[in-house]
Point group: C2
Chain length 314, copies 2
């Protein structure tokens, strides 16, 4: 394990400890949760969302929540998303949402997930928005792609999904998406491409940074070549530069590609790209269940933890 | 000074010490000079040059030699280059040469340099080859550009030159080259773009790695936009990838760009690019005056020094 991985594991273990959870849970906003999370609900997130839009960037709304394991909890999430759609529409925020399929019941049953996803997709569609079905760890990948395909078959063409370059299966999953796109040649099929952030075993995923980057590159060019809209969702500046250079060289129109980054991560870079006239969309999480998301941001980079330490002791 | 710079300075200081010069000078070939230098003269370099050509890469021939300070020494270099042209032609090696203007007397007088460069350019032109006027440190930059312009005016359109992205003056020098290219719209004006490897002061050159890279990027896109042929002469894989991605996206024909790398530096990368169908040209030094060039290669990367240490003790 290299030093960065060791830091990450240690930070996640500390974040998982009960007393730490309790302190951060209590003083979180004072400690800087607000750097990465826009608010404890959609209404408190609106000012951040509007400010991002005013800066020329676009937004992805993500209602935080993990480990949704019952039907009732899933139905509650679906209602909360629909309510957020209404608030977004009313306040002038673009209703572009990212939702995890397990939040909509994929861990309960495929039927429940389809029912709820269809309802959410309809609400978002009626508001003129977009739904990105987020991708989770290995046990949910096939189910998510099935769900995505069902939604497209039901006519929800304002729905996209995500592939993770670190998984060995992803080239085949991309074949499937390209095939699906071919069935609907008159509408855009968008793909959010990420490297992958879950802990996956060597059976399922590449374990080396260089291999994951190389896989990303190969998938990205295949997706672009097949006419998909590519959402470049990585903070890897080298990959961003390369793919943006390709897009500029090929004079792709801006509805064919987009850079997607997380709220609070490399904000100057986001602004620089946007100021250069490039399409940038910022993934903005909000909601009361922010602890896991916040811990992962701290675990990613020692600089982020230092930021919190300053909040505690400074 | 960062660790890499400290290593570089120390390695160069050690290489400059007399006893070290004496040992390396004597046992150099056994110590691995041959990894970076193709031979002690053109004839001994021919097998290396042919092997590179057979691998699908192209070559740049560089007759090593520094600190040429007299007219007679300059005339001797010019003759040696012409002889190399004849040997290259006879043995099936592409007569694409790189020559430092001070080797042709630029340190003696501009008139001498013009006379000798004109003779060398004529010999190379008659062989159907190419001459790249190399670029040296700040005191010679204007003189080299003047010399280049005179050669173009004399009809030597198979001559190109080099710009260094770390110099503050380079954007203006690029304006000048673009203007010159505009005067000869029917022939290719090629530019070899490097980051720069001399020790220049903060008065003349950017001192930070990121700034030099950013300058490189800006110059490269301007040169491509102005229709120059861009010879991407850097081992920075990120820059290579980005500019190659742009070239692929723009479907530039392969006479509009080329990657140029040094013999013995990242050979697997050279072969990978070449195998991917990309135009790669390898800068191949030869000649008895290899000490300075070899020392700089060792100073560049600890891995290169380790390679020599294994030759000494292994």
């Amino acid at each position: 394990m290299d030093l960065a991985a060791l830091y990450r594991t240690t930070a996640l273990a500390i974040a998982g400890a009960k007393p730490v959870r309790s302190v951060i849970g209590r003083y979180g906003w004072r400690l800087g949760v607000g750097r990465f999370v826009a608010g404890e609900d959609i209404r408190s997130a609106v000012p951040v969302l509007l400010a991002i839009q005013a800066s020329g960037r676009r937004v992805i709304l993500d209602l935080l929540g993990e480990f949704v394991e019952s039907e009732s909890a899933s139905r509650a999430v679906a209602e909360a998303v629909k309510e957020s759609v209404a608030v977004a529409r009313e306040r002038g925020v673009e209703p572009y949402f990212s939702v995890k399929p397990t939040q909509l019941g994929l861990g309960v049953s495929a039927e429940l997930a389809l029912e709820l996803a269809d309802g959410v997709a309809s609400a978002i569609g009626a508001a003129g928005g977009h739904l990105c079905l987020d991708m989770e760890n290995v046990p949910y990948v096939s189910g998510t792609l099935d769900l995505y395909e069902e939604l497209r078959r039901a006519g929800h063409h304002h729905v996209s999904t995500v592939l993770q370059s670190y998984l060995f299966r992803t080239p085949e999953d991309l074949d499937r998406l390209i095939g699906l796109a071919g069935a609907y040649p008159d509408v855009t099929t968008a793909l959010r491409l990420v490297k992958g952030a879950y802990r996956e075993t060597a059976e399922h995923a590449l374990q080396d940074v260089a291999g994951v980057e190389e896989a990303y590159r190969a998938l990205a060019y295949r997706a672009l070549g097949a006419g998909l809209k590519l959402n470049v969702a990585t903070h890897d500046e080298g990959l961003q530069r390369e793919l943006l250079a390709y897009a500029q060289g090929a004079a792709l129109s801006q509805d064919r590609y987009e850079v997607q980054m997380l709220y609070g991560v490399k904000p100057q870079l986001q602004e620089r790209l946007s100021a250069a006239g490039l399409p940038v969309r910022v993934y903005v999480p909000f909601g009361s269940d922010w602890y896991g998301y916040f811990s992962r941001r701290l675990a990613e980079r020692p600089a982020n933890l230092a930021f919190v330490a300053r909040g505690l002791f400074g």
